[in-house]
Amino acid sequence: MSRRRHSDDSDDSDGQPHKRRRTSEPSEIEERLESLICRVGEKSNSSLESNLEGLAGVLEADLPNYKSKILRILCTVARLLPEKLTVYTTLVGLLNARNYNFGGEFVEAMIRQLKECLKVNMYNEAVHLVRFLSDLVNCHVIAAPSMVAMFENFVSVTQEEDVPQVRCDWYIFAFLSSLPWVGKELYEKKDAEMDRLLSQTESYLKRRQKIHVPMLQVWTADKPHPQEEYLDCLWSQIQKLKKDRWQERHILRPYLAFDSILCEALQHNLPPFTPPPHTEDSVYPMPRVIFRMFDYTDDPEGPVMPGSHSVERFVIEEVIFAELFQLPSPPHIEVMYTTLLIELCKLQPGSLPQVLAQATEMLYMRLDTMNTTCVDRFINWFSHHLSNFQFRWSWEDWSDCLTQDLEKPKPKFVREVLEKCMRLSYHQRIIDIVPASFSVLSPANPVCIYKYGDESNRSLPGYTVALCLTIAIKNKASNDEIFSILKDVPNPNQDDDDDEGFTFNPLKIEVFVQTLLHLAAKSFSHSFSALAKFHEVFKTLAESDEGKLHVLRVVYEVWKNHPQMIAVLVDKMIRTQIVDCAAVANWIFSSELAHDFTRFYIWEILHSTIRKMNKHVLKIHKELEDTKARLARQHKRRDSDDDDRSSDREDGPLEEQIERLQEKVESAQSEQKNLFLVIFQRFIMLLTEHLVRCETGGIDVFTPWYKSCIERLQQIFLQHHQIIQQYMVTFENLLFTAELDHHILAVFQQFCALQA
């Protein structure tokens, strides 16, 4: 439904101004109903109770004409506005008290909606619906025994055979997470049955496997806060709640004010609910690990509170950081959390910035055991945050990291933060904002390194050609002229007599790429223009796999001080097909890059490369589906046309196109699978080498490099889990076999456990 603004009325495509509507049309009433329902529970001059009562009256009056609309709106708010759950259950309770049939129809509609959500894998919304239904027990809409019966069906899913654990997990989660709302009532009516359900739940939780947990933990250590698996955490919380006799004081319960009305209402029984069976298309939510960073109630030596009001600030921050650090991915795009925290700092300038500084300090102190992916996010958040506050920070507080080995997490973190800060400003700014002692961690000045620039390099092979090339390019030489200049470059590899022409000549690549990048060094745009202008030369020189690899090597040699430039050049070269994704993967694992292997920018490049590959496959797949749809529509038209003139001839071009696209999809998927194969293979080689070296040398395996490397491997699995799942069989058979070192195999097994 699009709402046109007043100013649009005069710009109609038909040029006719609309007549003002004098009478209310049905669609306007429906809009008004939706608006009324959505707004109840918001800030108002009247009390919530009187608003609910008023609204119940209005809706009851509209039931004869707008029942299905009202049903639809209420079902939708139940599903999409969980934060106002008890407001709407109370509303439904009041309506049910006035109109028993309506209450029954609503319950039926909710059950239908729940089934639909489960069928299309909308599990988060399904949880909202289950909680809504359970709170309807409190509002005397649903009879407690029938709710217990539904939960019995939920818990019995744990008895199903040959189903993924994550399926059973969801049903247990839906049951347990409803208990804060309805546990008291259900226990009052059916305590024996509830005890049985809880005991069945407990035994399920005891026997379920938790191999996936290490992969999802933000910190590898259990001190100071253990990171519990989410179901274990919920179970402990429910146990405590039960011990407290289900007394809790956080849930708003508007229906208590209407008790006298609601207890007069007749209740409905939930129809027997059979959980939809598991199918191949079922995708259940991934398990989670609960993130805790503050423990102020338990730890008297903890951070000093700025004031008694700020407990909420700590909770807010804990929630925000929990989402930001969530593995595999945050629920929202990372930059949202940065902007959210900035807004909160603006709204609460007296307290939030302080608490945020304390949080940063706490996270910094625990860097040693923080998961590498989470450290990445911490780096991105902190540097972006600082850039909004003139980079003001008490860096001296962190001078402890200066005495550590630069590969250790704390100095590494500071280095990466400073590099990112530089990208958002400029080199001298960073030098100015840190104390002189931090210069060892400051980023390099992002200047280009041109090996043929110095007269002293005269003796280098290719020097004269480089000079020649420079002049030619400055004089706007064409690709052909470039080729002829390059012909004079000897090939250091040419020992055997080779076929003439365009075999791999590393020196040619070196001279051309060094010179061109140097000339175009001024800005990203200059470099992109250079790549575009001389695309043909690049394609020819980089035709072979070795050629592609060498181009990447030279790019690195020229721009190793400017990782941001390397990243954008690699991106452009993939998009213009100068290099391919596999070449980038091989380059990242090459010995030339070993020195930078643990640097953040390398992994940004690799993940960006994988994402491009994934998007490419999706794009071609979509083209194929669209073309198939076009063919289907054509058939349909022909069938309804009944025209003999339209023959198979018309199908021809489309069918050909479909065949071509089918091939394209297969080839793209094969390239995608191959990319992951290369990446996994290289990881296995690197890690095995390290493990063997440590074992034979008797040194501890767990060096900072190793922790970083193994967590980078985990990151590949987590960030691209959907794609990797498609090729699991290949990876299992070819790479992750039983002969693999158990350290490496464990990562694979943890990954498999995520959807098992």
Binding site: C75, L80, V120, V335, T338, N388, S425, F524, M565
Partner: protein
Amino acid sequence: MCSGGTLSILRSDSYVDLSQYRDQHFRGTRYDQERLLRKSCTLYVGNLSFYTTEEQIHELFGKSGDIKKIIMGLDKVKKTACGFCFVEYYARGDAENAMRYINGTRLDDRIIRTDWDAGFKEGRQYGRGRSGGQVRDEYRQDYDAGRGGYGKTVQCQLLFKWC
């Protein structure tokens, strides 16, 4: 029945809505322009410092998605940066996220502003002020070190004073 339905309050996405600005030089009807704005992947970015580089813009705007192209706004006479640029994304969704989360935050210590653009056309990279920069720098009265100091009109007045 309900799984696809949503609520109009949840559909409201005010950060992504079109502003009141319409390009007066646009070739086409208002309707055409608005249609293009609603599906555009290109953002206009304003209130930049004259010293802000393409690299800084790339780093900041890259946080909402892959950038296809950045075009720096130039003084028509001097051909130097004059405080605005265009950022084009491959995907509309990434541009929307920039409107939601990057608009109104700082770059180079300045609060920058983003708005939908109907799409870059040659010539649109130049300022439209009489002196060659942006119109806003012609008439403003304040001193802005990042944007050439005083507005052009004020600069002329000062010049006159000292002659």
